[in-house]
């Protein structure tokens, strides 16, 4: 592969290729003018070819022996002795062409391709540059050794001077090939990054379209269910009055009431999950949201030993968030922790400054002292309707994810691994991490 596109059958590509070649040639000619390269130089190089040629083989052997001795240079040779033999033949051809005297567009393109290939296989540019120095020294030495006594010393000096400049030009070609390769790599990486962003955006649009469809259906369903739930509620309360004093009947009414409450909650959660989320953004310390969530769980915590630990010293907790929604996120995480911990429950929140998508963000790590998450739970925890509890809709973490993503943040399972003994004083249970941008895009 070369740094310039190979010609294709397509006429437009051929024209583009011709245009590129012309540009490269113009640039090469400009560089030649810069170092005052002349026909005399060409003549001297061609005349020196017979004195240089007998040394090519030894020069090339020395060249690859040096590569062998240097791990950074050697690592680009991945094909063993056979590759080295092939490369030696290529280098021989390269050196022979150097003395051909035909420095036209075809010559230039072949040199560019060689340079680009070096950049492409990841040979550091400094090694390419040093290799050129080594070749220069070898060629100078060879020519000097074979220089006929009949020719003048001045002629030798002039020839070596021409050789130096020719090899400087070669180095310039190689350097430019590196630059081009570097630029193309950056362009490829940027294209891959943009493609990744596009894929992610498409995924979000698809998910949100799907949710919007479900949301519409759920809104209709929620309305009808609210009317029906109201009738159950009304009748249950009236029945309660009718059976006053009848303990058995009152127990049955209480059970109806409980089932009705459960159904009500289910519909609310499903609607919460599927309905569009409109954020009511305010700038506030995030701890307000998790402390509120912890307070709201007072009923679930009553009668058992529970503790909320905060490791937030020295971290600015100010974020632009919808406090009510973020409180919902923490509540859903805490609920899972409280139900996973069978004994005394400890939930620990640790915050740190971070970056997300290049923007200042707050990293919030919530850990508990429960049994932790197994691989299946880690994989599915954010899937709607996934639950390991006997009661519960399995929407809590899916809702949390929707809310965090609506804040342009990310929520994921942390690396805390309950299979290993944690360091002294650290909690070994589930770990949920939230990355929340500090400001709104």
């Amino acid at each position: 592969m070369s740094s310039t596109p190979e010609p294709k059958n397509d006429a437009t590509d051929s024209a583009e290729n011709a245009r590129l070649r012309a540009r490269h040639l113009a640039r090469y000619q400009d560089l030649r003018r810069y170092i005052e390269w002349s026909d005399d130089d060409v003549a001297r190089i061609v005349a020196a070819a017979p004195y240089a040629r007998p040394h090519f083989e030894a020069l090339i052997d020395d060249f690859y022996a040096a590569i062998e001795r240097h791990p950074h240079a050697r690592r680009v040779i991945t094909g063993g002795a056979a590759q080295v033999e092939r490369l030696k033949r290529t280098l021989l051809q390269w050196v022979a062409e150097l003395f051909s005297g035909r420095y036209d567009s075809d010559y230039l393109e072949r040199r560019r391709r060689t340079g680009a290939r070096h950049a492409e296989i990841g040979l550091p540019h400094s090694y390419a540059s040093m290799a050129m120095t080594r070749l220069k020294r070898g060629l100078r030495l060879g020519i000097t050794q074979s220089w006929p006594a009949s020719s003048s010393r001045q002629e030798l000096e002039d020839t070596l001077e021409s050789l130096d400049r020719l090899l400087d030009l070669e180095l310039a070609i190689i350097s430019e090939a590196y630059e081009t390769e570097h630029f193309l790599r950056k362009q490829r990486a940027e294209r891959a990054r943009l493609q990744g962003e596009l894929n992610e955006a498409e995924r979000r649009v698809l998910a949100s379209e799907r949710l919007a469809g479900i949301g519409q259906m759920i809104t209709g369903l929620a309305h009808e269910s609210r009317n029906a739930l109201q009738r159950i509620q009304a009748c249950a309360e009236m029945l309660e009055l009718e059976v006053e004093g009848n303990a058995e009947a009152l127990d049955l009414v209480a059970r109806i009431q409980k089932a009705q409450d459960q159904l009500h909650r289910l519909f609310d959660e499903v609607r919460n999950y599927a309905a569009p989320i409109r954020l009511d953004i305010d700038e506030a310390p995030l701890c307000d949201a998790w402390r509120e969530a912890w307070e709201l769980l007072a009923a679930q915590r009553s009668g058992r030993q529970t503790e909320l630990r905060e490791c937030i010293e020295g971290v600015d907790l100010t974020c632009q968030v919808d406090r009510f929604r973020m409180s919902q996120v923490f509540r859903n995480i805490f609920e899972n922790s409280l139900s996973a911990c069978t004994g005394p429950a400890v939930v620990e929140i640790a915050c740190a400054n971070d970056l997300y998508d290049g923007q200042p963000a707050l990293r919030i790590r919530v850990r508990d002292n429960g049994p932790g998450l197994n691989s299946e739970q880690r994989k599915n925890i954010f899937q709607p309707f996934y639950t390991t509890k006997t009661k519960g809709t399995g929407l809590g973490m899916a809702i949390a994810q929707r809310i965090v993503e609506t804040h342009a943040g990310r929520i994921f399972v942390g690396d805390n691994n309950s299979a290993q003994d944690p360091p002294e004083g650290e909690l070994s249970g589930a770990e949920i991490v939230i990355l929340l941008p500090r400001t709104r895009p």
Binding site: E224, R226, N227, Q230, R231, Q233, A234, C235, E237
Partner: protein, 128 residues
């Protein structure tokens, strides 16, 4: 203070419920209607302290009825609806105070809303 209350809902279960529960909360139900027009008619006859009405009813809806009642005599209204998006609309209806309860409601929800209205009616009798 005992409030004289007019109620309206197109669901019979809800009408029966309000008629039965409100007296237990210490108030008097003076009118029970199944649509907005009937509610307006009954309010002109009974001049209640408070109206509790559903919003979506056949014919004249709860919001229209509240406007009509306001023209006769400004009266506080508690709207009860299954539609959360109607909460915004009730604020601009008429001059008297408006409250919004989301179905399904329980006795405790009603008691809290009534306590707030009771306080207001007591401080500003006859809607003045």
């Amino acid at each position: 203070m005992v409030l004289r209350i007019a109620v309206a809902d197109d669901e019979r279960d809800m009408r029966d419920y309000l008629a039965k529960i409100l007296p237990r909360l210490g108030h008097q139900v003076v009118a029970v209607a199944e649509n907005g027009q009937r509610l307006v008619d009954l309010c002109s006859q009974t001049r209640p302290d408070l109206v509790i009405t559903d919003i979506r009813m056949p014919g004249m809806d709860g919001l229209e009825a509240a406007k009509e009642i306001d023209r006769l005599r400004p009266t506080p209204v508690i709207f009860v609806s299954a539609h959360l998006d109607e909460q915004q609309r009730v604020q601009s209806v008429g001059q008297a105070s408006r409250a919004f309860l989301m179905k399904p409601i329980k006795q405790a929800d009603l008691a809290a809303a009534l306590a707030a209205v009771d306080h207001e009616v007591h401080d500003h009798p006859d809607g003045e």
